[in-house]
């Protein structure tokens, strides 16, 4: 009988606030150790936390983006445990009353759409870092990250394959960036995933789960799940039982190993933090956040398909980030809505290819949306052909100016003067009398040869339609 995989994800998204969630220290990444840890982050005697309003607003924004309820009352709680990088001896998190309640997000795997439930999302502070290297048997503590705001997003166990888990993780990853609450940087740890995996026979109750902690790459999530599912099956089919535990995925060895079993788990002694009053969230607060929320990817996608007649594929690509969507809509301002398809093609074609090649984000594109639209306009108005356009694009990428400047400087303007084209056509026909004979003798495929010769002689600048018409006219006689 088949095994069914059951997966749930806990995602820690680092919120893109300037200062920490309960102190005024900067959250910037990569500073000298402990240079961004103020008295509050150091948990000096007598200091008190004060909630960063932006972090709360970002939490609410996420709730709205996944159609979740945002409760009127939100409470911060202390999670008590001792660890050197947790300076207070407790982490301020949320327990009973998180900022975001039940919500959902749609994913698509192999063309199949599925709704994944989000159980809750809560605000909490990040811990510092323990550095074990370079300290000769001692441990260094860097509290720069201590107090950085996190949104922990907990899914329902709704995913049934690694592919679904990845699709969900990517959908959340895309969404948090889209609404501007997280920079999504996986390498810097701005987006970390804990994966809960279990297996069962279809229809039976959930099996015992294991938790794979702190994975910061989609690829590793996929591999970790694959490894863990195989391990579960092996254990159960050989008569053993799965122990509920936290496991670490070792990417180098491509395996998971036990970190701690549940029996060893801490009793965190959660209780409401008496230093922070319950946060009351009014309808006006929620409305204010809603006003500032950008159009969400799903809405944008639907609009792109409906308004511009784009394919699902193009619409998906153009809404994969807010910057992509903005680039596209800026292009349309210059090129006009009628050229939506052509604009989309240029974005998914030359632009995407060049960005990939040079490892650039779209925000750093050397060609602005307005300039790329300028190129599209010149294709549409027949100033240049699509083929020449690629040449112009390359020059623009190298910083040689706008489409018009490049066309002018390189003399790439399409020849539409029928007299000039006729001259070239005549020249070609005269120089290739043998081929003309062959064509007239019934070898109609020779026609392409003549077109090629004319284009070659015109350096690609002759208007292809006019060339075709003239050739037909002359050969037909």
């Amino acid at each position: 009988m088949q095994w069914e995989t059951v997966i749930g994800l806990e995602i820690h998204a680092q919120l893109a606030t300037k200062s920490k969630i309960f102190s005024a220290a900067s959250t910037a990444y990569g500073a000298e150790p402990n240079s961004q840890a103020c008295l509050v982050d150091l948990a000096m005697p007598g200091v008190l936390p004060v909630l960063n309003k932006r972090a709360l607003e970002m939490g609410i924004a996420f709730g709205l983006a996944i159609n979740a309820e945002v409760p009127k009352k939100s409470v911060f709680a202390r999670k008590n445990y001792f660890y050197p990088d947790s300076p207070k001896g407790y982490q301020i998190s949320q327990f009973d009353l998180p900022v975001v309640g039940k919500g959902q997000i749609e994913i698509e795997v192999n063309g199949e759409k599925k709704i994944i439930g989000v159980t809750r999302a809560h605000l909490e502070e990040d811990a510092g870092k323990s550095l074990h290297e370079d300290f000769h048997g001692m441990t260094g503590i860097d509290l720069n990250r201590s107090g950085t705001p996190l949104l922990e997003i907990v899914s329902e166990p709704d995913m049934r394959s690694a592919a679904e888990a990845i699709a969900y993780a990517k959908a959340i990853h895309e969404l948090v960036q889209f609404i501007g609450i997280c920079d999504g940087n996986l390498q810097e740890g701005s987006f970390r995933m804990d994966v809960n995996v279990s297996i069962r026979r279809p229809g039976e109750p959930y099996g015992t789960r294991t938790e794979l902690k702190n994975i910061n790459s989609f690829k590793f999530v996929e591999k970790a799940i694959a490894y863990e599912v195989d391990r579960h099956i092996d254990v159960i089919e050989s008569g053993g039982t799965i122990v509920q535990e936290t496991r670490l995925y070792d990417a180098d060895k491509d395996e998971t190993r036990s970190m701690r079993a549940k029996e060893e788990a801490n009793d965190y002694r959660y209780f409401p933090d008496p230093d922070l009053l319950p946060v009351m969230i009014s309808d006006e607060d929620i409305e204010a956040v809603r006003q500032r929320l950008p159009e969400l990817p799903a809405v944008l996608r639907a609009r792109f398909v409906a308004d511009y007649g784009l394919s699902d594929y193009d619409a998906n690509l153009l809404t994969s980030s807010k910057a992509m969507a903005q680039y596209f809509e800026t292009m349309l301002q210059t090129a006009g809505d009628a050229q939506a398809k052509l604009c989309a093609n240029w974005m998914s074609g030359e632009l995407a290819k060049s960005l990939n090649r040079d490892e650039l984000a779209i925000e750093a594109s050397p060609i602005s949306a307005t300039d790329l639209a300028g190129l599209v306009v010149r294709i549409v108005d027949n100033t240049i052909s699509g083929k020449i356009a690629k040449q112009v694009f390359e020059a623009m990428w190298q910083g040689e100016g706008s489409a018009d400047q490049v066309i002018e400087a390189k003399g790439l303007k399409q020849i539409t003067d029928s007299g000039a084209i006729e001259q070239i056509v005549d020249e070609v026909l005269a120089a290739n009398s043998q081929q003309v004979e062959a064509y007239k003798g019934g070898q109609e495929k020779m026609f392409g040869f003549f077109v090629g010769q004319v284009m070659k002689l015109s350096k690609g600048q002759a208007n292809p339609a006019q060339v075709n018409a003239l050739l037909k006219q002359k050969l037909g006689q």
Partner: protein, 486 residues
């Protein structure tokens, strides 16, 4: 001069009859000669005091100085004071030099009040006798064999002995009022949230509140003016209208409704203390107040609820003392666990450990509902009791403590009897109300305190009642003979 009121000292300074340096020098001399017998200071800061006094004199010379400018004072050693050891009465923080000022410290520094030192206290404010201090017990100036009360015992004793005109204290379950009562001085615990807790080392966050301790209600009013105010660094700090707490002192008590809870005068209250308190209430009645009987039926549950909730918060608040970043660290730890367990075992005293264990237990899985949540329900009941009582009266009067000061060592082996010393004060902290203790007589040459409790933000009214009482009595002006001017 040690018998001068804050108002008199202020007038003397403002009219240049005395300089702040002279005044500071005077109190430093008293402190030096008398404190060895009282042990009310953990740290004395004569250099800082004189330096601040010189600045105060400059401010006074320049004119327009704040009325409190130049008057020496001392802080309970729970308020972080930049550059000064802030020990909280614990070995754990014996080596801790605070790198910043508490909000309250800043407020008084802004008034140019020279800091004479940091006063003794029960370790981490946990206690009712100041005997749990790492720096040895403070003695009651009225009887050196008696405790001064706690936890702000050093602050109370220093004022009673005339070592300093006023001190700051903190009150979590009675820690300003009970020592004020035991030492025969006046102390007020403001409404929770009126005084910022920023820089005040936390014992139980939802109860802790700072306040002034001085010789009279009038003195307290002057000091409260400088202490109260919104502080954005404390999320529980309240935004309240700026109030001049001295403005209503002279108001008549005609028509004042005084609630006297029958529940207060039952079992456990020393009959002599009861007699003194009743006499004080009669005095206030003579001033025009009307006495009504009120009932606070859930008060008897308050001590039990407090000893679940306060230790629960404390168990978490004190987790930061782990030997890693500051404070006591054990020698040569074998590993992380050894570092934690030995540093904490060595750094904390018995009472602190007891409360951490009680609190951790009350919060642990499987016990949370039965202890912590149940105690929170009691907290609401106690608060509701007061709300109901204040529908029929303006102020509630009663005893501060069931007895006068007990002897040093008398209750150290019996924590529960020690906890019951705060029977009358604890309910007020559960509700977050303002309350005062003022002297109202003596039993066996030891002072008795009268407890005044009011509705939220009724500090001005409490001070008014206390001040009017102090206009017709002189308990507050009495001093132990041996501390007299030499």
């Amino acid at each position: 001069m040690y018998q001068y009121s804050i108002k008199q000292l202020s007038d003397a300074l403002q009219t240049k009859q005395v300089s702040s340096v002279e005044l500071t020098q005077y109190f430093l001399t008293r402190m030096k000669s008398l404190d060895p017998q009282v042990n009310s200071f953990i740290t004395q800061t004569p250099e800082l005091a004189l330096q601040m006094a010189a600045q105060a004199d400059e401010a006074l010379a320049a004119g327009n100085a704040h009325p409190l400018t130049g008057i020496p004072m001392a802080h309970k050693d729970i308020f972080c004071t930049d550059g000064v050891r802030t020990s909280c009465g614990s070995k754990m923080l014996d080596n801790f030099i605070a790198p910043y000022d508490a909000h309250v410290v800043t407020q008084f520094k802004n008034c140019h009040m020279p800091i004479l030192g940091k006063t003794n206290m029960d370790e981490f404010a946990m206690g009712s006798s100041s005997e749990s201090s790492y720096y040895g017990p403070t003695k009651n100036p009225w009887d050196l064999n008696a405790v001064p009360g706690g936890s702000s015992g050093g602050s109370a004793a220093a004022v009673a002995a005339g070592l300093v005109p006023f001190t700051t204290g903190t009150d979590t379950g009675g820690s300003i009022r009970q020592p004020a009562a035991f030492c025969g001085i006046s102390g007020i615990k403001p409404t929770y949230g009126a005084v910022s807790r920023f820089g005040m080392i936390s014992y139980a966050s939802s109860f802790d509140q700072g306040g002034p301790m001085a010789m009279s209600a009038q003195d307290c009013a002057w000091l409260l003016n400088a202490m109260v105010g919104f502080d954005q660094r404390d999320s529980t700090s309240m935004q309240i209208e700026p109030t001049d707490y001295t403005a209503q002192l002279d108001k008549s008590l005609k028509g004042l409704k005084v609630g006297v809870p029958s529940d207060y005068f039952g079992e456990g209250l020393d009959p002599h203390v009861a007699a003194s308190v009743k006499q004080a209430i009669a005095e206030i009645e003579k001033l025009g107040a009307e006495v009504v009987e009120v009932s606070l039926p859930n008060q008897k549950l308050a001590v039990a609820a407090y000893y679940v909730l306060a230790p629960a918060e404390a168990s978490s608040n004190l987790s930061r003392y782990d030997g890693v970043r500051f404070g006591h660290r054990c020698d040569a730890p074998n590993d992380l666990n050894d570092l934690y367990t030995r540093s904490r075992a060595e750094g904390f005293g018995a009472e602190v450990k007891r409360r951490i264990m009680v609190g951790a237990y009350a919060l642990s899985a499987g016990y949370y509902d039965a202890y912590y949540l149940k105690a929170q329900k009691v907290r609401r009941l106690v608060r509701d009791d007061f709300s109901r009582a204040f529908e029929s009266c303006d102020v509630i009067l009663g005893p501060v403590a069931p007895t006068v000061a007990f002897n040093i060592g008398e209750k150290t082996d019996d924590p529960v009897s020690m906890y019951l010393a705060d029977l009358y004060t604890i309910p007020v902290n559960l509700a977050g109300l303002p309350a005062m203790s003022i002297p109202a007589g003596f039993v066996n040459q030891r002072p008795v305190g009268l407890h005044l409790v009011g509705p939220y933000f009724s500090e001005a009214r409490l001070l008014n009642v206390a001040h009017q009482y102090q206009q017709v009595t002189n308990w507050h002006q009495q001093r132990p003979e041996w501390v007299g001017d030499k």
